[in-house]
């Protein structure tokens, strides 16, 4: 079912003594087939080749040289943090998606989803409706959470500022995923 871990150190109890969780995880690592290029995204020109090879998966860390080789990328600032935009467009599931590189060279992605927490959804409806214009909004009444998904990253960044102003007591963020959870 799952291939053995090839790089297991022999200091363990023989190379055959493999953890199932490692094996499962290796199956996850075998997903180089995940290619953003196939997902309808627009890449910076120098990045297209690497995208096709599947080297832009979430969590992958690029060296400084690798980032430099990508050429001049669009810069964005989210919550005071600088990012370079690797690609933007629509994912295979039809959702808007932007792939970013943080200052450490780690690749992350966002579906342009603003998360508003610690705030009754009624307040969000009343006081932040204007800032949510154009977004697909889902209200979680029982847990005081609202999610707003914007077509473009720039819209989400603008809305972040506006919602914070409208709801200063709320916890509002534009989460970027830098690592996908693994089975344990």
């Amino acid at each position: 079912m799952i291939a053995p871990t090839p790089h297991r150190r022999p200091t363990l109890l023989g190379a055959h003594m493999l953890h199932l969780h490692h094996l499962v995880h290796d199956a996850f690592l075998g997903i180089a087939a995940f290619t953003l290029a196939a997902a309808g995204l627009v890449f910076a020109p120098q990045a297209a080749a690497q995208a096709a090879s599947g080297s832009f998966s979430v969590g992958h860390r690029l060296s400084g040289e690798q980032v430099q080789a990508l050429g001049k990328l669009q810069q964005v600032e989210i919550d005071g943090r600088p990012f370079q935009v690797l690609s933007t467009g629509t994912a295979a599931n039809g959702l808007p998606l932007t792939t970013l590189i943080n200052r450490s060279g780690v690749i992350g992605q966002t579906y342009h989803e603003l998360v508003i927490a610690n705030q009754p959804t009624a307040n969000v409806r009343q006081r932040a409706a204007a800032a949510l214009t154009g977004a697909q909004v889902k209200y979680y009444d029982q847990t005081d959470i609202t999610i707003a998904r914007f077509p473009a990253l720039a819209q989400a960044i603008t809305a972040l500022t506006r919602i914070r102003a409208a709801l200063p007591e709320a916890k509002v963020g534009l989460p970027i995923t830098f690592e996908k959870p693994r089975l344990r």
């Binding site: 871990t5 199932l20 989460p175 996908k180």
Partner: protein, 708 residues
């Protein structure tokens, strides 16, 4: 060093309740000690774990505050009123029960097929007394967020709840993993450990009458894990709000995460769980991780692999939330599973076993008689459960399953002529992924006995019922490696040479200017009289005790604690740099923070933001006002391999101070090792002299105490 003086976190509006809460805590603390001394009711459960080797305990800490007071024992559970073919009986009705050592070690196949390298502890969860009273999880809904669950399986279908399920890849409410691109059996195995039915076939779950749902969220299709889907699964959607307990046998932790609710939909959703289940809070049980001896996937420990855990469960920021019950794994030897991640956010220990590679059922250690005679240990059994149906899918499949044992191939015969697993519908699995559902199962039994328990009650009862295991483990020398280690886990680590010395360390070694520190403190008794371990949390629960306590809470509801908990903001307590004395290869007191409030500690948390500092060479220890020392981060960890030099709001936490007073001075130490390891710098900012931080380096330390 920077010294500040203010309360950690915001003032809490319920201070007037502190005295009453403290009195209640004292009672519960005493209960814990009494129960620990009494041990489990199962003969297979060593009952004298806490007292069998008293010298293994650390030296007494400063006088516990408050003083424990006498506490009545919970009354025995009432008589069984269950009806039906399997009424008031435990797993003896199921043909594969003999392999389920986690439920009854003494009666298991493994007890009578002993291999000295694989067995010896004899611990189990002591669930049979609960089953015999007819308490089997009825009325409790458990959601497994995983790879999906084969709810049509013969041993799961009677407990399936499709209205509590969702398939994020295929759409619809059938979480069948075969409908996903992964076809991964992980979630089906997890579900069976919790709630495989008692029906005369296959295995039996710990809570065989729970209702089970599945969510296919942890699959390789990256497009599944949107913020919306994460929140939907974690109590946001109507179907997930049906869950009373959620099992999370997954996690992150390769790179330092930003710990804030604004940056993590998981944190937002987890905090929202507290308001569900009729304001009692949905219980969330999560795996600690499998990276203790990892060499894989960005979690490499280098040449010190196996000597200590160079990773940290806290690297998954969701484990820092108090309503996440972080679960480590124990093997059939009664010792931590070789892979089980260790850290100060571990709350409890479940049963996960080892690798199951040897023998017909994974029962052999893989060692020769001569090796065993020389004291070697090795592998051992894992956790048996349900698998995706059929011999062409799942862990058990032909022709070469992994592990490739007779049972996994479907060829084994415990009774001649009768195949144990003829259709490959059952398999076994290890990992904290397997240990976590053993705890989830116990939680389901507790909630079945008393549905009014809040998430905090559940967490406390797990702790109160727990047994300290593997006493003195910090003095043990690892013997399951081909090249055995020659120094104990608790040996002092030299911050200059990045190597272990032969001397056993203790908390007294962690002082400003020191150059050798222990990497493991073992079981630590804190100022409230509670014992905690980075390896085991508060220990291994005893299900019978846990259910007795759940019933006691029902009888005396004033014991229950509200689901609401204030999480104060972090406060900056230090900005360290070379000019403030922070340097590699030594211990530095980062801050001595005076807290003037007098509340009861739930969790102490830190958040670090660094520039030009090798995070992989930076350890953190915290000493409470009561004198309890806790290692929150190792001075050499896998971040060296990631060459992390800049990090923001990287979170750490510890439950070692649980129950102590917040009042007094908290000391936060940096344990910085040599930023060169295995012949290369641990990050690009490593100084040439190996000691002096660059002028541009800074470390911002924030702290808070979350009170009970």
């Amino acid at each position: 060093m920077k010294s500040t003086s203010f309360a950690l976190g915001s003032p809490v509006s319920v201070r007037h309740r502190v005295s009453a809460k403290r009195a209640a805590l004292a009672l519960l603390s005493c209960t814990a000690l009494l129960l620990s001394a009494c041990g489990g009711g199962n003969s297979a459960t060593p009952s004298a774990a806490l007292t069998s080797d008293p010298t293994a305990l650390p030296q007494p800490q400063p006088q516990p505050q408050p003083q424990p007071q006498p506490q009545p024992q919970p009354e025995p559970i009432s008589t069984c009123t269950e009806t039906g073919a399997y009424a008031c009986r435990s797993g003896e009705t199921e043909p594969l029960y003999t392999f389920q050592w986690a439920l009854n070690y003494a009666k298991s196949f493994f007890q009578t097929n002993a291999d000295g390298g694989a067995y010896g502890g004899g611990f189990d969860l002591n669930v049979e007394p609960v089953h015999r009273l007819g308490i089997k999880g009825e009325g409790v809904h458990v959601l497994v967020i995983d790879t999906g669950v084969d709810l049509k399986h013969e041993d799961l279908k009677d407990n399936a709840d499709y209205s509590m399920s969702y398939n994020f890849e295929a759409g619809g409410n059938d979480p069948d993993p075969m409908l996903t691109s992964d076809r991964n059996p992980h979630g089906t195995n997890v579900a069976g450990i919790i709630g495989a039915a008692q029906n005369g076939i296959g295995v039996m779950g710990i809570a065989p009458k729970v209702k089970l749902g599945g969510a296919t969220l942890i699959i390789r299709s990256e497009e599944v894990q949107t913020s919306q889907n994460v929140i939907d699964a974690l109590g946001g959607a109507g179907w997930s709000q049906k869950a009373h307990v959620i099992n999370g046998s997954f996690g992150t932790g390769t790179d330092p995460e930003i710990y804030s609710i604004e940056d993590s939909p998981s944190i937002a959703a987890l905090r929202g769980l507290k308001s569900l289940r009729g304001q009692k809070g949905t219980v969330f049980v999560k795996a600690a991780g499998n990276a203790f001896d990892s060499q894989d996937d960005g979690l490499e420990c280098g040449s010190l692999q196996g000597a200590y855990d160079c990773t940290n469960p806290a690297n998954d920021s969701s484990t820092l939330e108090p309503n996440v019950i972080v679960t480590a794994a124990l093997n059939a030897k009664g010792q931590a599973s070789s892979y089980s991640s260790a850290g100060s956010v571990v709350w409890i220990t479940g049963l996960g076993g080892e690798h199951g590679q040897g023998g017909r059922y994974g029962e052999r250690s893989g060692r020769t008689a001569a090796e065993l005679a020389a004291g070697a240990t090795g592998s051992g059994p894992t956790i048996f459960s349900t698998d995706i149906r059929g011999c062409s899918a799942g862990y058990s499949q032909k022709p070469e399953p992994e592990p490739n044992t007779d049972f996994m191939r479907g060829d084994s015969e415990l009774m001649t002529g009768v195949k144990d697993n003829p259709n490959c519908d059952y398999s076994y699995m290890n990992g904290t992924s397997a240990a976590t559902p053993t705890i989830t199962g116990v939680v389901a039994l507790m909630l079945s006995a008393n549905p009014e328990l809040s998430w905090r009650d559940v967490r406390d009862i797990l702790r109160l019922s727990a047994r300290a295991v593997d006493m003195g483990y910090e003095r043990r020398i690892r013997k399951d490696l081909d090249v055995p280690l020659d120094k104990p886990y608790g040996a002092r680590f030299d911050l200059t040479t990045n190597s272990f010395t032969t001397a056993l360390g203790d908390k007294g070694d962690i002082t400003a200017g020191a150059r050798q520190v222990p990497m493991e403190l073992g079981w630590v008794r804190n100022g409230a009289g509670l014992v905690h371990s980075n390896w085991y949390g508060f220990g291994l629960p005893d299900a019978a005790k846990a259910v007795e306590l759940a019933q006691l809470y029902k009888k005396e509801p004033q014991r229950s604690r509200s689901s609401a908990q204030i999480v104060p903001s972090f406060k900056r307590v230090a900005v360290a740099s070379s000019t403030s004395g922070l340097a590699y290869q030594k211990v530095t007191l980062l801050a001595a923070v005076s807290d003037s409030t007098d509340q009861i500690v739930d969790e102490f948390q830190l958040r670090l933001t660094g520039e030009a500092i090798c995070l992989g060479s930076l350890g953190i220890a915290v000493e409470s006002p009561a004198g309890t020392m806790s290692l929150l981060k190792m001075p050499l960890d896998h971040f060296y391999h990631r060459e992390v030099a800049d990090f923001e709001k990287y979170g750490l936490g510890s439950y070692a101070f649980y129950g102590e007073s917040t009042k007094g001075t908290w000391k936060i130490y940096a344990l910085a090792s040599n930023p060169e390891f295995d012949g290369r710098p641990t990050c690009g900012a490593a100084p040439a002299d190996g000691m002096t931080l660059p002028a541009s380096a800074s470390l911002v330390v924030e702290a808070r105490t979350i009170s009970q």
